[in-house]
Amino acid sequence: MAVLLLAEVNNGELAMDATAKAVTAAKALGDVVVLACGGSAAAAGEAAAKIDGVSKVLVAEDDSLSHRLAESTAALIVSLAGDYDHIVAPSTTDAKNVMARVAGLLDVMIISDATAVVDADTFERPIYAGNAMQTVKSSDSKKVITFRTSTFDAAGEGGSASVETVSAAANPGLSEWVEDKVAESDRPELTSAGVVVSGGRGVGSEESFALIEQLADKLGAAVGASRAAVDSGYAPNDWQVGQTGKVVAPNLYVAVGISGAIQHLAGMKDSKIIVAINKDEEAPIFQVADFGLVADLFEAVPDLISKL
């Protein structure tokens, strides 16, 4: 049977990278039918139809579906669930919010953050902040899964799937949107960037964090942060990398003034090349770094910026 894949749609626009990575994971399970839903979703549906391996796109547009409210989005997915053995999504905060609710409504377990498909019932996922990898086999008739995007390559473009319209389910009317606070940025998106520069508590202040941003801009990188840096107000919450923040696996990850707690490593240790700059040679971050520089960041980073 086919796979229903919830596309990541933000303000009517398809998040191509996250969606195309989930398509790669889902292809192993059957024909992929993408659901694009929201207050406006037609353009996102058209974009999804071009992803290689997508066999059909369903578009649902309704006011009740705007802002990805969990109750109405889950109700829509459940109304379509009958035709599918697998209901999947990229592991974004939106999908984690919605898909666990879908699983609850369908009386099945969720398989969160799957990193590999073994067969139609069996999946791999990290547990304990990535300190162990578990293979689980589901006995549920329908599988509800979120895929960790950092472990799958994005499917290419060039497809031309058909697009159909479906209607929203009855609005449960349980919640309403008030506002979004989204920081505008010209930098690449953290979870899809090829290079990420992250700062930690060692950076010391919101003002000095500009140094991290300058290095990032020099490298065309996205900016990340440790939890300590976010908690201290040096960086916004959506920059947090780690067990409870974003999981990234860029070609190059530069950790500056970050000690390397397991919760932080959980979000970046699959990066291809890791650089650590820290003044403490005992810092655990050096155990995962390919290139470690024991130095004061306030000297090393400006020097690095000038020499790149």
């Binding site: 666990a100 547990i127 990898m133 989204v182 919450n237 409870t244 390919d290 520089l293 130095a295």
Partner: protein
């Protein structure tokens, strides 16, 4: 209003976990266990609501092994009023799936009729990020996940959520299930007198059968392995050497 707070006993976040040699899971024998850090934040939030006069009773509940009563005593020492322990297994290695936990919690909600359930966003052992959403689904209630701010306005809760793009604020009908994120508050430490007092607070012991729930798992664990280790790296002596190495590796 009554607030229900589910708390999970998990491996302490500072402990280095070890995968068991037979691949059946992670070794939990004789390791330090603590309250899931997210759940300390939920307990704190519930107590603050009570201190602000917006809640009149805080009930904490844990589902798992008998030793979870230590976790519940910690919550009582922080300021919760009463605890319910649902003994669902006698082996720490036998964790209960979120779907089963949610079904038991639904039974407790039906009995206790809270106006608000405050869950953690995820448990740091299995990182499922599921229980709160599943409970909300089973109850047919609203949900507000990953909360960094929670306000109560009459029969609605106004919740600011930490999402991939930044922050989202929503207004949900009460009763509701809120799952809390790390920046909602800083949990207090229990004082010695409060730890003593907590020993006398009521703690009811129940079983899943009391709520008509059979404990069975939908996911079978095939194997558990250590993640692939990274190859050892090198220490560079200067920024110049770092730049040279990065160029050599084609990274810049």
């Amino acid at each position: 209003m009554k607030v229900l707070v589910p708390v999970k006993r998990v491996i302490d976040y500072n402990v280095k976990v070890r995968v068991k040699a037979d691949g059946s899971g992670v070794d939990l024998a004789n390791v330090k266990m603590s309250m899931n850090p997210f759940d300390e934040i939920s307990v704190e939030q519930a107590i603050r609501l009570k201190e602000a006069g917006q809640a009149d009773e805080v009930v904490v509940v844990s589902i798992g092994v008998k030793q979870a009563q230590e976790t519940l005593r910690t919550a009582l020492a922080m300021g919760a009023d009463r605890a319910i322990l649902v003994v669902a297994t006698d082996d720490v290695h036998n964790d209960i799936e979120p779907l089963t936990v949610a079904k038991i919690l639904k039974g407790i909600v039906d009995e206790e009729q809270p106006g608000l359930v405050l869950c953690g966003k995820q448990a740091i052992d299995n990182d499922m990020n599921a229980t709160g959403q599943m409970l909300s689904a089973l109850l047919g209630w609203s949900q507000a996940t990953f909360a960094s701010e929670v306000g109560i306005e009459g029969d609605k809760a106004v919740v600011t959520r930490e999402v991939d793009g930044g922050l989202q604020t929503i207004k949900v009908n009460m009763p509701t299930v809120v799952t809390v994120d790390l920046r909602l508050n800083e949990p207090r430490y229990a004082s010695l007198p409060n730890i003593m007092k907590a020993k006398k607070k009521p703690l009811d012991e129940k079983t899943p059968a009391d709520y008509g729930v059979e404990v069975s798992n939908r996911l079978e664990i095939i194997k558990t392995v250590e993640p692939a280790a990274r190859a050892a790296g090198i220490t560079v002596a200067s920024v110049d050497e770092l730049v040279a190495k990065l160029k050599e590796a084609g990274a810049v």
